[in-house]
Symmetry: C2
Subunit: 247 residues, 2 copies
């Protein structure tokens, strides 16, 4: 049944997700300590762009919200359940998809390293370092670049980096997350003061010992995560924009 008088004039809606995780290794096998940003892509198995790598996603089901569609397609294609999920942008240029007009509502997401290892990697799903991507299907290279920009600006003023870590962590681990995203070194002393000035961290009392040096205190987040993709008073469970997620 056609959605408009002219069947070929219908506009399809798709929901895709740029999902980030940190990995220690460099892809060749050397775990050199400094984590870098990786993301999972799925190989397309039909035209257009058959064989190309693309963002996980799929059509919007009539009975699910946009965020639910993002979570579902993510689970179906990669097996991943993100800790953080936020709408990025709606991409709707007329010519962005050869062979049919598609508006893509794109989300971006974060998973911690443990969850990332759980991904269903295989013939058609693979992790790529965010700064060394192949030529992707559609306008997905641009979309990833935009998502990376958002990740980098948002890590500086929100607590969203916590979604990339486990329950407890050292300040050096938290700092290395920020360093991986911002791609520059941060002063350990100043970083420490900045994070505990926000008063969201509490020491667990435990220590983590690694290497030939003083052990580090372990911390956890005391406060709930900043209401990132939470809702304005109205609809608490479904998808609504944050008070101000974007600057």
């Amino acid at each position: 049944m056609a959605a408009s008088p002219h069947a070929d004039e219908a506009v399809a809606i798709a929901v895709s997700t740029v999902i980030f995780a940190l990995r220690q290794d460099d892809g060749i096998g050397a775990a050199n300590g400094d984590p870098t940003i990786w993301l999972p892509l799925v190989r397309r198995i039909r035209e257009p762009f058959d064989g190309s790598w693309a963002l996980p996603g799929g059509p919007l089901d009539a009975h699910e919200s946009l965020a639910d569609a993002a979570r579902r397609s993510l689970a179906e294609t990669t097996g991943l359940a993100p800790r953080y999920l936020e709408q990025l942008y709606a991409f709707g240029d007329v010519d962005r998809s050869p062979g049919g007009r598609v508006v893509s509502i794109v989300y971006w997401a974060l998973v911690d390293s443990a969850e990332a290892r759980r991904a269903l990697v295989g013939q058609n799903v693979r992790w790529f370092p965010a700064d060394r991507l192949p030529r992707l299907a559609f306008d997905h290279n641009e979309i990833v670049a935009y998502a990376l920009g958002r990740l980098r600006t948002k890590v500086e003023y929100s607590d969203m980096a916590r979604a990339l870590l486990g329950e407890t962590f050292t300040l050096t681990e938290l700092r290395s997350v920020h360093e991986a995203i911002l791609q520059r070194r941060l002063d350990p002393a100043n970083f420490r003061r900045q994070v505990d000035a926000h008063g969201q961290l509490e020491a667990t009392g435990e220590m983590r010992r690694t290497g030939a040096h003083r052990p580090a205190r372990l911390y956890r987040y005391a406060a709930a995560p900043a209401p990132a993709p939470a809702a304005p008073p109205s609809s608490p469970t479904s998808s609504s924009p944050t008070k101000e997620t974007t600057r």
Copy 2:
């Protein structure tokens, strides 16, 4: 191309715009100097919400970009051509539109006062003060509240306020725009230093004399507007997200 096996499961796309302007008067007729934020709404002439006020908008045409659809529907319903236009958010809750699933890609826009006076006000188009809206159709009250939040956070770090003013203006006029949006008084001395620290203003050499006091210098913006809804390197004319429009 059928959108889905069941016609009633198709998801429609609409594009709507929250468009802001400043007005001196208070709606009753008293021009008391302090401008306030107003926005135009259109009266719905069919179900659902027949008779209710709603954001200007309409369906997405298959051959136009999202931003073009926003501009077109704005021109058709209100006659307005905004100076500033940027994507706000895609609203897609399942139950937001009784009688059919609709995903609304919402833009927000600014017009200057001269353009605002040009609007086709009539039986079915009227301006409302942004903080005293009636109950609107759909989730449009929430959408306006979200857009107001974005306006208020963005005015503090971008030059987007210029879209609400004419070619030349005094610093007091520019400051009163900020005050109207932020709903608080700003120190004239500090405001002056902040704006010219950004180095975007240049004095025209002209003066504006109003009232029984020292005339004020007129300024204009020297630099091009910050690339608000401009494009990452690729597509210069069409709709792409800004480098970082959202915080």
